[in-house]
Amino acid sequence: MPLSNSRSTRRFTGKSNYPARKVAAALVVLLGLSQLVLSIHAQEGLAGSVKRGGVIRYGHFQEPACLFGGWVQQWYLQRQYSDNLVARTEGGNIVPWLAESWSISDDKKVYTFEIKPKVKFTDGTALDAQAIADNINGWLSNDPDLRNPTAAPYLGDRFESATAIAPLRLQVKLKVPFQPLLNVFAQSSQGILSPSALKRGLAVNCENPVGSGPFIVDKWRHGREVTFRRNPDYNSAPATAKHQGPAYVDGITWKFLPDQTVRYGSLITGETDAIYDIPAVAWKDANSRFSVLRHLTGGTPLRLALYTARPPFDDVLVRKAFAYSTDRRAAVDTSFLGSLPFEGNGALSQSSPEYLPELGHSYGYDVRKANQLLDQAGWTERNRNGVRVKNGNPLIVRISYSNAFLKPDGEQALQVIQQQAREAGFDVRLQPTNPADFFAGKNLGPDDYEVVLLYWVAPGAEIFRISWKPDQNGETNRFNPSRYQDLTLWDVIQKAEQELNGAQRTALYQQAERKIVDEAPVIGLTVLDVTLATKPNLKDVWLDRGSVGEPVFYDAHFDDGK
């Protein structure tokens, strides 16, 4: 199949490429004005190893409602204009950013950070320990203007206080040890914003947030673009960056191009310098023409969460049978045309440091085994349509999903699963749910689904806390759609969070990981990725792999005099 597919792709582009180049010359003339502006800037660049100047025209996908917040689309934007307390390297090490150094008390409950001196927010406010303390306290308060929807579920019941004990010394106290604290601080949604700017209220800050980052939000033209300009006084680059001081380029034009034909097409015609999310159908073409960056996000993979609180999936045998009955690897490979890998580990995505590769192959396609497990579980009869029946109830599996979370290619993968599971006697019904209904909770009620497709990106296994916290004190964990309640699992997760020894913590997380995969309340499908295609002359764009793969334009520069 890959052979025939690449052939047809090549045939189509091969035909039409030549005229395209010819007319491209005309396009340059038409767009002459904007190109000229760019090249003037480029000439201004200081003599040195790296050319300065130019504005990066970046084509992004979705436009959020606010320039910061809990949605990953908002993290991408916030990464450009704010700095975090600490940074996280690709290997998962925590390195300095706004905090130059830190120490952790023996009881692992008190963190003391030494803050980088002479850093200012771009509105002139000093970035000192007090400013950071104000930020952190705001995230965990109930003030809707300040509350942080990412930090709150991680830290809410562990956090005690954040105080400035000296102008440049910050102290964070916890109620119980929580090792992933620094990971949480390293995520872009926890970028530090100017406290004096935050006083202007959420509405103003959404439009025009103020951080201390390498770029400054210039203007947000809704429905079109956000423009960033360089912060000329930038002096607080993280240790993960390739240089210090202000950014090389003059700014970024962050265009919102939700239609993938327009987005990829604009890169082909040279109207953008970089684009986000390469369409699967263009994956091969993009790799041959452009520089392609890809980050597979950590945290949970894109997975099928099986509703474990009632039949049929309250029986672990049936859960496993469902996993065995489908060739999810083939479904992913075909649907995403090789642009995304299969992920068989339902607990954790492969770029997480605690990932166990052997679990990535769990529950390979095996119809015989699926049938055997179903017989064992008492689903022995089949009705006229070949669907298994137990006590008169057919084995119906309703899969709820929303195209808000799933690309069209993912929907195709589900259609493959639907067809394959039929052989083992599952009657799979897809419940595609429009974002509108999904947000309204349609197909998500306790009796509405057997399977739901969801994900949550994070650097690594600290996500277990969010997924697997059992319902407590009448408060249901709404981030656990499998409704799988396992106190021993929760015990292991909490132990891991309190363990500061890296190897031992990893071992504990992996113990939890094994248990999750073994109990199969979730079944892996694929991962979420961040892909970026850049024109060859735009160098040193990188994805923040220590976090969730946000594009970083701080080190980027144009190369060939453009």
Binding site: G69, H222, T261, V262, N434, P435, F439, G441, T476, R478
Partner: protein, 324 residues
Amino acid sequence: MTGSDAVRIVAHPPIVWFARRIFSGVVVVWAAATFAFLIQCVLPGDRAQIIITVTSGNVGPASSAELAAINAEYGFDQPLAVQYGKYILQILHGDLGESYQQHRPVAAIIAEQIGPTIVLAIAALLIAWLLAILTTLFIAGRDNIWSKLLNDTQVFLATVPPYWLATILLVLFAVKLGIFPVIGGNSPIGLVLPTLALALELSGFFGQVVQNEFTRVLEQPFVTSARARGMSDFGVRLRHVLRHAALPGITLSGWALGRLLSGAILIEVVFARQGLGGVLVAATSSRDVPIVSGAVLISAALFALASIIVDLTYRVVDPRIKLT
């Protein structure tokens, strides 16, 4: 705008006519506002829950305390009559409510997005007329292969789905041939393809109507006499086509407003253009009702305004029409 209005007001002086016209416009807008309010009330599912999920980006039932706070903030816990009164009062102050998703005033959101949409719509209207009049000049009253072909083209254009045509134009002329930019932005050159995509459909409609009208005119005695006086065929056509296109043109342009808005929503999405289209589609799929109902209100107001203008222009262009 309707015939009955014209009949009823025949006896009144222009001022009274105008006042009544304005009044009926206001009634239309008020009714649209009531409709917009009703939409928000019949929305199935809990509005507070929708607001919370839309804001946090997470899915799942929120706690009752969170819900209560939102209900109080938006006044959902008050009786409907009170909510309705407040709503109408707000509208009178130019306040169309706040977007659930963007947490900004709907009026501001629409104000910043409607500009490009109106530019696109007006450009398309002009181009559509230009195309319709040109083709009519050539084909009306003639019976040769070209006129048949052009006529069929008009029918085809009036039928073809505009969003599909737009996709083809985009891929062919922007992505493949590179003649036009893929991201048009608000530049004139970027306006070409979206305008064409929108105008072609409309030009088919206009062309068919004007052509019918014009064919009838060409059979009139005064046309024959003009020809007898030695006026060239083309001169006759140009003069009469323009004059006789004017009246149905004005009416049709008013009618086309709705069509243009509908079309623009689709075309803007295809070209990923800034404008009401993208905002409305996003609002529809995230159940951001205040934006959708705000758009309903604004378009009703625009329509009422346009129909007053149409009526006025009618009186100016053709004073003979004493509204009978």
